[in-house]
């Protein structure tokens, strides 16, 4: 009898839906159906059993072809390459669990590497603003139960987080929002008429790149001062109308995305968004949240802050202390200045998502990809090591975009012999310790912690 597994997490976008149902074959090896997922989530669960998925590490040969090698050989090559490099860069983690992120961090520390995650090219500017100006945020549960005015600024959940609007932000009925969408006023600020803008009650079609100006106009209006007839391509009346709606809200929620972080102003746009939220709290309750892209991209920020004190762009090459200075220790800048001599791409695809100029620089040195699937990075790598798919074949803790940790499940067995990210990086760490004749004390500590954890009843 096929088995229906409920409360399954989806390992794709930052909505981190945990209400999926997956029908699994008798032998627990095949996914037959998925329920509740959006088209993207659906694709992930069905792609897992694709016959084209590699099941062994592949090493590039002198003639350019790839040859299958054993996991032991792959671990040995990775450990030796990392030890040989003066300043390796380990980057990615859009798609893995916190257990994997923690294991990688121990390898990075041992290698004296720079450790960075996808936030670096995504919500990195948001981190900078949050360090400077604080983060008056809340959980998505609060949004669902309380928010009656929701602002989407430079984000397009209908495309990037398909179920965000139905689970949390526009449609659901909550404790104080019993009428769901009827009770919510939606404001969208975007230079395009996106599918999210089409759902909005008010669309402010901002002149691209003028987010700071418009936030500033909002602040000015909120404080009761006059503004010019038009700001950032938006008429004064429209700004006043939107500001009034936000002020009159019982709970105003501002979501912001790449429209703010990827353009001129970067962190300054987020900085003023946070200040606008603070201003709004003079009149009502207001909160703000970054639309984090991946299901656990909030994870490395949590795990590494706990391990080293910083969420991203961690330079561990000094050996004595961790150092973080985006612009200097960020992946793209390091690559463009040719400052790293080895690149390890984990659970992401830098080959497709970095500006190509950065890839050209990184490719001058050893290039290793750890990812379940064939991707652009794997196809230019010297070594590609496949791992299990988190959320499908491997359970683990993930942090949703509102920094709520969720235990994701495993629904089927992974391909035989293929390790998880955590297992793989623990092997690399152990091998590095062997090669340097040092004590693998993190592995020992982990074993100790596991032994002393009471078993579940």
């Amino acid at each position: 009898m096929p088995k229906l597994i409920t409360q399954v997490g989806c390992p794709y976008c930052g909505s981190s839906c945990d209400d999926l149902e997956v029908l699994v074959s008798d032998d627990g090896k095949k996914i037959l159906e998925t329920h509740n997922a959006c088209v993207i989530g659906n694709e992930i669960f069905h792609h897992v059993s694709s016959p084209s998925r590699p099941k062994k590490p592949r090493m590039r040969q002198p003639d350019g072809t790839m040859k299958e090698i054993s996991y032991d050989e792959a671990v040995d090559f990775t450990a030796k390459t990392l030890l040989k490099s003066k300043k390796p860069l380990i980057y990615g983690f859009g798609s893995t669990n916190c257990e994997g992120m923690s294991a990688v961090a121990r390898v990075a520390e041992k290698a004296g590497a720079v450790l960075d995650n996808c936030a670096s090219i995504c919500h990195g500017p948001s981190f900078l603003a949050i360090f400077d100006n604080g983060y008056p945020s809340c959980t998505l549960g609060e949004v669902k139960n309380r928010a009656d005015v929701v602002v989407f600024w430079g984000c397009n959940p209908m495309h990037a987080h398909p179920r965000h609007t139905s689970r949390y932000s526009i449609f659901p009925r909550g404790f104080f929002t019993t009428k769901g969408q009827m009770q919510r006023t939606i404001i969208c600020v975007d230079p395009r008429e996106t599918d999210t803008a089409k759902l909005a009650d008010m669309h402010l079609m901002i002149k691209q790149g003028h987010d700071y100006d418009l936030f500033d106009a909002f602040r000015t209006v909120l404080r009761g001062h006059p503004i010019p007839e038009e700001v950032a391509g938006i008429k004064r009346e429209k700004i006043e109308e939107a500001a009034e709606a936000m002020k009159k809200a019982r709970f105003c929620m501002i979501f912001f995305g790449m429209g703010c972080c990827h353009t001129d102003g970067r962190n300054h746009n987020i900085d003023i968004a946070i200040s606008t939220t603070r201003d709004l709290n003079t009149y009502t309750k207001a909160s703000i949240m970054a639309m984090r892209g991946h299901y656990n991209i909030a994870g490395p920020g949590q795990v590494w802050s706990w391990q080293f004190g910083f969420p991203y762009c961690l330079d561990l090459s000094k050996g004595t202390h961790a150092h973080m200075n985006p612009g200097e220790t960020s992946s793209i800048d390091l690559a463009m200045r040719d400052e790293v001599d080895c690149f390890v791409n984990v659970g992401t695809d830098a080959g497709a998502h970095f500006p190509i100029a950065a890839i050209k620089h990184l490719k001058k040195h050893p290039f290793i990809t750890v990812d379940p699937n064939i991707c652009m990075a794997s196809e230019i790598s010297d070594l590609h090591i496949p791992v299990r798919v988190v959320g499908v074949e491997e359970p683990g803790v993930v942090y949703r975009m509102d920094n709520v940790p969720i235990q994701f499940k495993k629904v089927i067995d992974g391909p035989e012999g293929v390790p998880s990210d955590e297992e793989l990086f623990d092997m690399v760490y152990k091998r590095m310790c062997e090669l340097t004749q040092t004590e693998p004390f993190w592995i020992l500590a982990k074993g100790h912690a596991q032994a002393s954890t009471p078993t579940e009843h």
């Binding site: 794709y12 088209v39 079609m205 991203y312 960020s330 800048d333 497709a352 500006p355 196809e379």
Partner: protein, 137 residues
């Protein structure tokens, strides 16, 4: 006569891209979803092209051939959108304003008709950029 216009480029997510990416970046779906540039019909007129014509997009960082299509989500004149992915990243400037984050959106490009030029596959673009492409042209 070749027309050339200057537009402001943004590169962002699309659900088509997200879904195709999970199928695989070497699939026809990914090619279809990402090797396109959405622009306002008024700008196409200025360029002297019809929709679904190949165009060459050039920025300070590089150049790529993609297919010009009418916006699936309205784009005003002056603005162009290539969906996030391999084609977009051929032209995204790596400058970060000292934040680590490249200029994925809001950079100037010139666009010109390239009716007789082929749109390269994702693999050809990425492997080609690092001297590894063996597939010919």
């Amino acid at each position: 006569m070749t027309n050339k216009i200057s537009l402001n480029m943004i590169t962002q997510r699309a659900i088509e891209e997200g879904q195709a990416m999970e199928k695989g970046k070497t699939t026809p779906q990914y090619f279809e979803a990402c090797s396109v540039c959405e622009m306002n019909p008024e700008d196409m007129k200025k360029l002297g092209i019809w929709r679904n014509t190949n165009v060459r997009v050039t920025s300070e960082a590089g150049s790529v051939v993609v297919k010009a299509i009418e916006p699936t989500q309205f784009v005003p004149p002056g603005l162009a959108h290539i969906r996030q992915g391999v084609w977009a990243n051929q032209v995204v400037p790596p400058r970060t304003q000292s934040t680590g984050t490249p200029q994925y959106s809001g950079f100037p490009v010139t666009i010109e008709p390239a009716m007789n030029e082929k749109i390269k596959s994702a693999l050809e673009l990425v492997q080609g950029s690092v001297g590894m492409w063996k597939g010919g042209n």
